[in-house]
């Protein structure tokens, strides 16, 4: 496998490839990327890890968003995509919503964090989300999620945060404890002690800054050891001073 830095307009592969990412187009010069990233060429396949790319919702995606506004018959949710998504009130109430008799803020207020599924993407400017738990996955909770700390990252960084077969997220859950929810739009929620959240935030900032590095999981393990170690030592010192 060959790793190449991909820059817009600079051909990265000549010949005919079998599987190519949609961010790469082909012309007389060969395969040309349109955005900055790292291309992994293995045989005739070209995989592409973009440096930055805004989340594009796909039907069935699990997303976490923040309520940002009211419409007459539903809420506008910021899911970190190009436009705001719309959550119909009838979906939440499971019955017809009448704005003359009922108040939307009784159910969801501006600033609430909600777990949702994307139910329809008509075009980029029209995203519908639903609270109906269609997939019933254990680590994906729908509805209002309260008392969570929130971290937002570019959705292209998620594969590194999750790791190969979930190795990184497993490591984080084991070492830090608490409850970690990862949504496909790049939102990470954490419920647990604040000190642990600070460590998690530091680690995720580190991962997003070092997206293309190899051997990240092992390195992060060391990093957590250092951070937890210093924390433990501090507690020991405090304990001794107290006694």
């Amino acid at each position: 496998m060959k790793r190449v830095i991909a820059l817009p307009g600079v051909a990265i592969y000549k010949g005919s490839a079998q599987k190519v990412d949609e961010k790469i187009f082909r012309d007389s010069r060969g395969y040309v990327p349109t955005i900055v990233g790292v291309a992994q060429i293995s045989g005739r396949n070209i995989d592409f890890i973009p440096y930055k790319d805004t989340y594009r919702p796909v039907k069935g995606d699990y997303v976490i968003g923040v309520v940002v506004g009211y419409a007459p018959n539903g809420w506008f949710i910021d899911i970190g995509s190009y436009v705001k998504a719309f959550l119909p009130a009838a979906d939440v109430l499971n019955k017809r919503f009448d704005p003359r008799k009922d108040e939307l803020s009784r159910y969801l207020k501006i600033g609430d964090i909600v777990g949702l599924y994307v139910s329809e993407v008509r075009r980029l400017g029209n995203i519908l989300v639903t609270m109906k738990d269609v997939k019933k996955a254990k680590d994906r909770r729908v509805g209002r999620l309260s008392d969570y700390y929130m971290i937002k990252v570019w959705s292209t960084k998620l594969p590194r945060i999750i790791g190969k077969k979930g190795s990184m997220v497993k490591l984080l859950k084991e070492r830090l404890g608490g409850d970690i929810i990862i949504a496909q739009n790049g939102v990470i929620l954490y419920k647990g002690p604040y000190e642990k959240f600070v460590i998690l935030n530091k680690i995720i900032t580190f991962i997003t800054a070092k997206t293309f590095a190899t051997g990240l999981t092992e390195y992060i393990n060391g990093l957590i050891n250092d951070m937890l170690g210093t924390e433990d030592r501090n507690q020991d010192v405090e304990g001794k001073e107290g006694s």
Binding site: I5, P8, V10, V36, P50, Y82, V83, F212, L216
Partner: protein, 250 residues
Amino acid sequence: MSDNNDGEERVFVRPDGRKADEMRPFKIRAHILRNADGSAEIRLGGNWIIVAVYGPKEHFPKFEISQDRAILNCRYHMNPYSTSERKSPKPSRREIELSKVIRNALEQALILDDFPEMSIDVFIEVAQAEGSTRVASITAASVALADAGIPMRDMVVGCSAGKYNGHIILDVGEIEDKEGEADLPIAIMPNLRKVVLLQMDGKMTHEEFKEAFDLALKGAMQLYEEQLAALKKILESMSTLEEGVKSEEE
């Protein structure tokens, strides 16, 4: 400048001591602002330009939206302290024109069809001006757009050439711009071999124009290498676990 009476040809030296085909020192940095989606900075001689890119995002007002492509908004602005005499911060006729010219140049490289009903904002702030700001702005804006992750067919890079004291010169400075006979700013897409901006002020013969154009192309290619280096630098820093300690190969 040799000023002898031996009948020898006078050596041409430019106001800042450069050779005719010499660029001013330049440096491009990408990703310099934390809050913008993409950003870049260029220093070209005494020019210092900062570019920020926001988007693609929902466009307002709604009646202006384009159904099949994104709208590119571009604002070229000279700060009041960018010139030797205070410049009024309100957009001048020149700034409005340059905003349009820069937008037209960048639009040709961007794949705007990917984002129907959206808009992309490019803010160009000239913090210090010393001639050839429009081409320097295009060069920096292109890096900022790449940093924002907006799909492009190719980078856009600009450079200027001109005529001063009867000589064709590369990278026109402030004095040469004011006192010279002509100036020719160009912007190109280097890999696609396309010209996206070509303006000329003053008078040049056909041969002089050809020479100036070739010289500007040569300068643009130098800036293009710097553009790529600036973008590579970000990716390289993301590929190493500790800055300068552990490289990818190790």
